[in-house]
């Protein structure tokens, strides 16, 4: 034990170690000064003083290091320290250049140790390297100044004495600062007094700018809450206060939370932008704004202005009868404060105006459809049933409720799963078809039963089953072997007559909406750029698909087909198909919304 104690004493007696301790003391109590910051005219600059003393301690450290004789065991390193430093710098630069490779390397590395080594190396890039270089440059600049100082001191006795006095003065100042820091730490950490909020505003913002955009010190001058007409300087810590210097300007309303201090020295706990700023004016301009009124009510409750808080809560309820949860929280605060009469009055008011939010039933599919044979026939011959089944499958696969994912369905979206049954989809479509059949178009029904329609349907079905690559090869060859103008014109006429691409985009959006509702989210509203981009790429796909599917038809055969869709009978079928598909989607969306909202209300 004695040997260890002797060793420790020997280490402590070393100049560099003592300088390092002084540096750490200055650094530590600088952060304490920042943590328990004092308002005032000059007191806030305690942090700057601490930083200055820490810098001076760093100087002392470098000077002691250069004057000290390193242990002989370190001779191999110290004798070639300059080369070591140069090589280390070169290595760091190399690591920095290779950082992107190191970032990827963990993906292929075996074992956690190797992976972590690569991760560490990849992080040595950029900012870290800059930090290391900054420290090294600072150290070397200190060393340069120390060398010059020693050279001067060797030639002038007066300078030598001055340097020695300065050395002692710095040590003394750091020790005094330590005492100040300890006092601040006691004043803040042992303080059990409640914090008091003061509302004031910014008079001026200032900062000490450093090179390369670093802003190490920023303070705000606030209108004093203690002395009318005076100002108070307070240091600003952007991360802690949530106020970046660029966003703070003169006139900004601020809330300062002050505590009285264990040693009765008031200190600033926090600074923040005043959330109640302009609330009265805002509510005068926008009297139906719910968020600021609720904020005002919270402030009134905190200020124990119960009557005003209750009055504003009544206004909120009158404007937003569904805001029951908020009203309940106000009632609870009033009860807690012993304002039972106010609480009961507010509760009565809430009961009088309040109601649970209604569940939106958008475009309900209606009751059971009066489905007869012809409805089934039209659905089957048009291919509506297959399309609806495909849509239900698409929705389920997006929600992870089909195939292997089905066993997790209950955990993911139970309410959605129960409402996405295929029967319900077909029922909604059948309603539309049944209504349309009340004024059926005889020509359309004849077409559905015609061999020509059956042939076209089989062409489509065959193409869907063919190898995808064959279609891709066909499309890839189009620029070199473009189709005839006549064929392209037919493709355009078919697109116009059937509005195929538009329907595809609308259905894709409808599916997206159902999925979003099932996930309990509100579907994002789309802008026209989105729709136009979607329809453009869909039109390209539809055009190439049409060219491919009907590639073996003659122009005359295709013309016959296109001509039918342009007739009133063809248009009747297009309308029925579109309305049926979209009605089925809307009904599915309404069912999913209703079930999701019910589940949420119940929970």
């Amino acid at each position: 034990m004695r040997a260890i104690a002797r060793k420790l004493r020997a280490v402590a007696a070393m100049g560099p170690v003592r300088a390092l301790i002084l540096f750490e003391l200055a650094h530590w109590f600088t952060s304490v000064t920042g943590l328990y910051r004092l308002p005032g005219t000059y007191l806030p600059f305690g942090v700057a003083l601490g930083a200055l003393l820490a810098g001076a301690a760093l100087f002392l450290f470098v000077q002691r290091l250069m004057a000290a004789r390193p242990p002989d065991s370190l001779a191999p390193i110290v004798n070639h320290a300059d080369l070591f430093i140069l090589l280390a710098i070169g290595d760091l630069m190399l690591i920095n250049i290779l950082a992107p490779i190191f970032q990827l390397a963990p993906l292929f590395a075996q074992g956690p140790i190797l992976r972590n080594v690569f991760m560490l190396l990849s992080r040595a890039s950029g900012g870290v390297l800059l930090g290391i270089f900054f420290t090294l440059i600072l150290g070397l600049v200190c060393a340069l100044i120390v060398s010059v100082g020693r050279w001067l001191a060797a030639r002038s006795r007066l300078l030598a004495i001055s340097f020695r006095v300065l050395d002692r003065a710095v040590v003394g100042a750091i020790l005094l600062f330590t005492v100040y820091g300890v006092a601040l730490a006691y004043n803040g950490s042992l303080d059990r007094s409640p914090s008091v909020e003061h509302r004031t505003e910014v008079v001026r913002v200032a900062s000490v700018a450093a090179p390369w955009g670093f802003v190490p010190l920023t303070w705000v001058e606030l209108a004093s809450w203690r002395t009318p007409g005076a100002t108070e300087r307070i240091l600003l810590f952007p991360a802690r206060d949530g106020l970046s210097p660029g966003r703070v300007g003169p006139g900004l309303p601020i809330v300062v939370r002050v505590r009285s201090g264990f040693l009765h020295v008031p200190w600033v706990e926090a600074l923040a932008a005043d959330p109640d700023r302009n609330l009265d004016e805002l509510l005068r301009v926008v009297p139906t704004a719910a968020v600021p009124r609720q904020q005002l009510i919270r402030t009134l409750l905190a200020a124990r202005r119960w009557d005003d808080a209750a009055a504003h809560t009544r206004i909120v309820l009158d404007q937003y009868p569904a805001a029951l949860a908020f009203a309940r929280s106000v009632i609870s605060v009033l009860e807690h404060a012993g304002r039972h009469d106010d609480a009961r009055a507010l509760e009565r008011h809430a009961r009088a105006v309040g109601r649970l939010p209604e569940i939106a039933h958008v475009g309900s599919g209606g009751g059971s459809a009066d489905v007869d044979g012809s409805v089934h026939e039209v659905i089957a011959r048009l291919g509506l049933g297959a399309h609806l089944d495909e849509l239900a499958t698409r929705v389920q696969s997006r929600l992870g409720t089909s195939g292997s994912g089905r066993r997790h369905a209950a955990a993911r979206a139970p309410e959605a799963t129960s409402t996405l049954d295929r029967h319900a989809w077909r029922e909604a479509a059948a309603d539309v078809v049944a209504q349309a059949l009340a004024r059926a178009d005889a020509g359309a029904l004849r077409w559905l039963r015609s061999p020509q329609w059956e042939r076209m349907k089989s062409l489509r079905a065959e193409s869907a089953l063919e190898d995808r690559r064959a279609r891709e090869r066909f499309i890839a060859a189009l620029p070199e072997a473009p189709p005839s103008q006549a064929r392209i014109a037919l493709v355009h006429r078919l697109e116009r007559a059937g509005a195929v691409s538009a329907l595809q985009v609308e259905v894709a959006e409808a599916v997206e909406r159902i999925v979003e509702r099932a996930r309990g989210r509100t579907p994002a509203s789309r802008d026209r750029a989105h729709w136009r981009a979607a329809v453009e790429s869909t039109r390209f796909r539809t055009a190439t698909w049409t060219l491919y599917v009907y590639r073996n038809l003659s122009d005359e055969e295709l013309l016959d087909y296109v001509t039918f869709w342009e007739t009133p009978s063809g248009q009747w079928l297009v309308r029925v198909y579109r309305d049926a598909i979209l009605a089925a989607c809307e009904a599915a969306e309404a069912r999913v919304t209703a079930t999701t909202v019910s589940a949420r209300t119940a929970s």
Binding site: M66, R69, F134, I145, P292, P482, A533, F540
Partner: protein, 408 residues
């Protein structure tokens, strides 16, 4: 602090050896040197400073500006010395890749990037034959025209797309570039501002077009440079390299002094200040923009953004509303209203009033109907929600089908 070392305990100089007593007791050992400043260390300092300076210059630049190829390195070098025209050409060369198959390149954009202009043109024209009026292949034709040095043709193509898709970001940038070459500064600035509110272009090649035209305009003698337009072009390049922000500010200041589109120049000044965190200056600049042009919707929107940053909901509301009132038919500002009125203030009543105004101005405004449906649903007004949702869908359907009907 440097102090004179005590000679009894410390020996100065790095050649100092052990004391005389130890020398008598043991054979002389190789002395341990003290730490001292040697020439190698100065080399290290110079290396570190150079590295630090390079890091500060290069680190904020976007990865798009560092293609990993020989022309890529030349492009970076040209860019760093300020030769934007040469750099743009080199970047274009460095971006060349396989054109892929037509199946995956309906617009011809990949072929264009690959530098195969005939193939790109063939693909674009094939797609245009299949989908007449399609935006993407038309824009490829515009880009091809720009590369071939035919800005008037590029302008025609880009403006054709803009007519059908007023907010197509690539069409707006291409149109701005083409008009800039032709000296239509006002049109180019309007297109740039409309594009910049959506951020960067979708097409990677757009950066090179903007860089090239910026280089061309900046080569002119100072008095012939279109300062305001250059400020806007540098503002776009700032997205990729913050160093261009300084140039944008300098040109905007020159434009303001010369009275060259001062409202737009103030707006650019405000936006660049915002990006570098100088929010007080930013607010001041955009406020001046609306003083210079009280109908500048985008400047009002930027005041709303600055108000949001300062946590001032009242100013934010007023400015979002002013932006909407300056351009009630522009659906873009409905989003600003949505954020400022519906989300920040939680006020569906005011939102409904404003959306109804948008529908009054443009009954075909599907976005407004869609938002009205959402607001009505929030208020529990199911009937209104259904009605507006239906109207929106009908309008979207009309929008979707009208492009097909427009084909020959």
């Amino acid at each position: 602090m440097p102090s004179t070392p005590a000679p009894a305990r410390r020996v100065s100089g790095h050649a100092a050896g052990p004391g005389p007593s130890s020398a008598a007791a043991s054979p002389p050992a190789a002395p341990t040197r003290r730490l001292a400043l040697r020439p190698v260390l100065w080399l290290a300092v110079v290396l570190m400073i150079l590295w630090g300076a390079s890091y500060r210059r290069l680190a904020p630049m976007a990865s798009e500006l560092f293609p990993m190829s020989r022309p890529g390195l030349r492009a970076v070098a040209l860019y760093l010395i300020g030769d934007y025209v040469g750099a743009a050409r080199m970047y274009r060369l460095a971006a060349q890749d396989e054109p892929g198959e037509y199946t995956y390149d309906m617009s011809g954009g990949l072929a264009l990037r690959a530098g195969n202009l005939p193939l790109a043109e063939r693909r674009a024209r094939t797609t245009l034959a299949l989908v007449p009026g399609a935006a993407e292949p038309t824009l490829t034709l515009a880009e091809i025209a720009l590369v071939r040095g035919r800005p008037d043709e590029a302008e025609r193509h880009a403006d054709a797309v803009r007519e059908r898709h007023p907010d197509h970001v690539d069409a707006l940038y291409l149109s701005a570039v083409a008009h800039a070459y032709r000296g239509d500064d006002g049109v180019a600035i309007t297109a740039m501002n409309r594009a910049l509110r959506q951020g960067r272009a979708d097409r990677e090649t757009m950066l090179f077009h903007v860089m090239e035209v910026t280089g061309h305009l900046a080569r002119r003698p100072a008095e012939q440079q279109p300062a305001s337009l250059l400020a806007h072009l540098y503002r776009y390049l700032r997205i990729y390299d913050p160093a261009n922000g300084t140039l944008a500010i300098a040109h905007a200041r020159r434009a303001i002094a010369a009275g060259d589109h001062p409202a737009d120049a103030y707006l650019t000044l405000g936006v660049v200040y915002d990006k570098i965190g100088e929010h007080a200056e930013s607010l001041q600049a955009v406020t001046r923009a609306v003083t210079a042009d009280p109908r500048h919707a985008e400047a009002y929107r930027w005041i709303a953004v600055e108000a949001w940053r300062r946590g001032d909901p009242l100013l934010r509301y007023r400015m979002a509303r002013a932006a909407f009132e300056a351009a009630p038919a522009d659906p873009f500002y409905l989003r600003t209203l949505d954020e400022s009125v519906l989300r920040a203030l939680g006020d569906p009543y005011t939102m409904t009033t404003l959306l109804r105004r948008a529908v009054e101005v443009d009954p075909r405004n599907a976005e407004a109907h869609e938002r009205l449906a959402a607001v009505a649903r929030m208020q529990g007004d199911v009937a209104a929600a259904v009605a507006h949702a239906h109207t929106a869908r009908v309008l979207w359907h009309t929008l979707l089908t009208e492009s097909a009907e427009a084909s020959p």
